[in-house]
Symmetry: C4
Subunit: 192 residues, 4 copies
């Protein structure tokens, strides 16, 4: 089964997600600088979510270059990932407009955790269909960064009820570690 | 006539449908757990609709792999299917915010019924353009699951005015039977 | 210059247009049949606009199959067409919620007229880049249907201030004549 | 690394951006000509933004035809450009509904400036991965128009606090100079 339509559909969904998030930032009513002030936390949350969706698109892009074929289970594992990502605009708007209140910050983390787990499941489903010596298997390796990210999300969710600002800092840190495309895949492909 | 642009357009429309549904879930106003309570039925309806659109995308993807060429009538049969799917976000929002009231539950079923019939028509139009011995014809076979789904939708619509909860359970059951990609197509392609 | 990215971008824009139109139909507030009544004209307008955008996508698809190459001017002629189509959701919502009042009905016609003229310009730009004997030139021919449609739109706009219902009937009639893909292109390709 | 998925994702994001801008123009409440009056500046701003996004799509399309391969840094430079473009619908709505007030006009310029700088960075990242004699390097050349545009945006932002109308005229002038696809790339490809 060809992977091209799965890539095209994923590109479409992620393109819509990353773009409609901006609709959560309502056009300011006033024309004074003060009218922009309430938008600042919304804007910063928007930037964070844009980076997260960008990271998922980048990693998805990199990983699927090493994918040789997809099965029925791959389609659903991929839709499961897109499901969690589709919730990002909603929780971005909620966290952004509530100045890092505990519950929205925790729910934001739950969506990141869900997406992280869904991505991990997707890698497992793909690995099950490729050999131990496939370029995909060598590229994914032990996937330590993916596993550590999931643990940090879980910690951040719990911390949100004590220090939501720390949770938010953890989200930023995780995003920072993923900003560069995975060198494992770069290495594989440059070695070709 | 090439099928690639029909696939690309369908991917685009389904990607937008599955993503803008989230806009029907309004950002909660409060930051207490109580603020999330009214979102619960909306969220569950969102999950159900996400799964339904995902099923259509999966089946569309599988079926078009066996499609060899498309005609003018195929384009309209496909647009007819996309029309019914485009109504899903609207009825999802209506059913979700009204706690399974009779009319919204029935209208939700009407949209599912319309999409089911449109998909059936699409398979007939495609079969008319392919031979009796084509991979497509063998893959579609008697299409018992498609026909039974349509009957169940009709029953659920009628039941919505008596027991809307039963209707909703029927929608969930139909979705469950379709969750796995059609083994008929998997068999055809793995046999290659 | 390759036509594939122009097709992909056009598919994307038309997919978003045809899908976000549904956002103009607001989720009804009540759960009685009466709550659906005000949606009926909005829904009928939605169906009409869906068919119009579908026609443009179909014709675009058919025409570009005969296109061999695109130039810089083609990109802008195509964007000009997408510009008018992008206004369809706005005027659909306005005409639908105002029960065929004169001004919204006329403005709806102006957008159809703009799209019709833009499509005509696009065919001229494409023809200028292909020979008189190209498959494209033979397929487009005298383009009588395109020219008549533009005249009917102009008549309907004027009539909207006297009998908006007649204008609307004219829009439906034009859509009806375009519903089937252009036999000229079918003939060309089946002859291959 | 293949450039096709980067192109597909960029097409998707720009298609959504150019289309959801129309959602910022709210359906008018009345049916009199007076109901359209407040939409006029919003509409003109919409046209300007549509042209700007169209210019970026056109230039992106032209430039990537000369691109041979992409790296991890290219993906992020491209996402950076898409980030600034994703803010266009928001600032379009703000400037349009406030009749060229100083602050919205300046913020509109800041987004154009950001997109201009992001495009410049993208060209530098691409050039770093291609040789001095590559078709891409010859096509981009000194990129005088790109640099002058950035300077004009900066001037327009400052002027917005004195004469916002002049700033707006500068935006229109810059758009005008970019309306035609870059002859440098046309020359390269027609020379093939």
């Amino acid at each position: 089964m060809s992977k091209s339509r799965l890539e095209a559909f994923s590109d479409g969904v992620m393109a819509v997600i990353i773009t409609i998030m901006v609709l959560e930032m309502k056009v300011p009513h006033g024309v004074e600088a003060a009218a922009l002030a309430p938008l600042v936390p919304v804007f910063l949350t928007y930037v964070l979510s844009f980076v997260f969706v960008g990271i998922y698109w980048n990693n998805h892009h990199h990983m699927f270059q090493a994918v040789h074929h997809v099965r029925g289970a791959t389609l659903w594992a991929n839709l499961h990932l897109l499901f969690w990502l589709s919730l990002v605009p909603l929780v971005t708007g909620w966290m952004g407009t509530n100045h890092l209140a505990s519950l929205p910050t925790a729910v934001y983390g739950i969506v990141l955790l869900g997406a992280g787990c869904a991505y991990y499941i997707l890698t497992r489903v793909l690995l099950a269909g490729h050999g131990q010596d496939s370029p995909l298997a060598r590229a994914i390796g032990r996937d330590a960064k993916g596993k550590v990210s999931i643990v940090i999300y879980a910690v951040a969710i719990a911390l949100a009820f004590v220090h939501p600002l720390v949770s938010c800092a953890l989200y930023v840190i995780v995003a920072g570690t993923w900003l560069y495309p995975d060198p494992r895949f770069e290495r594989i492909f440059s070695g070709k």
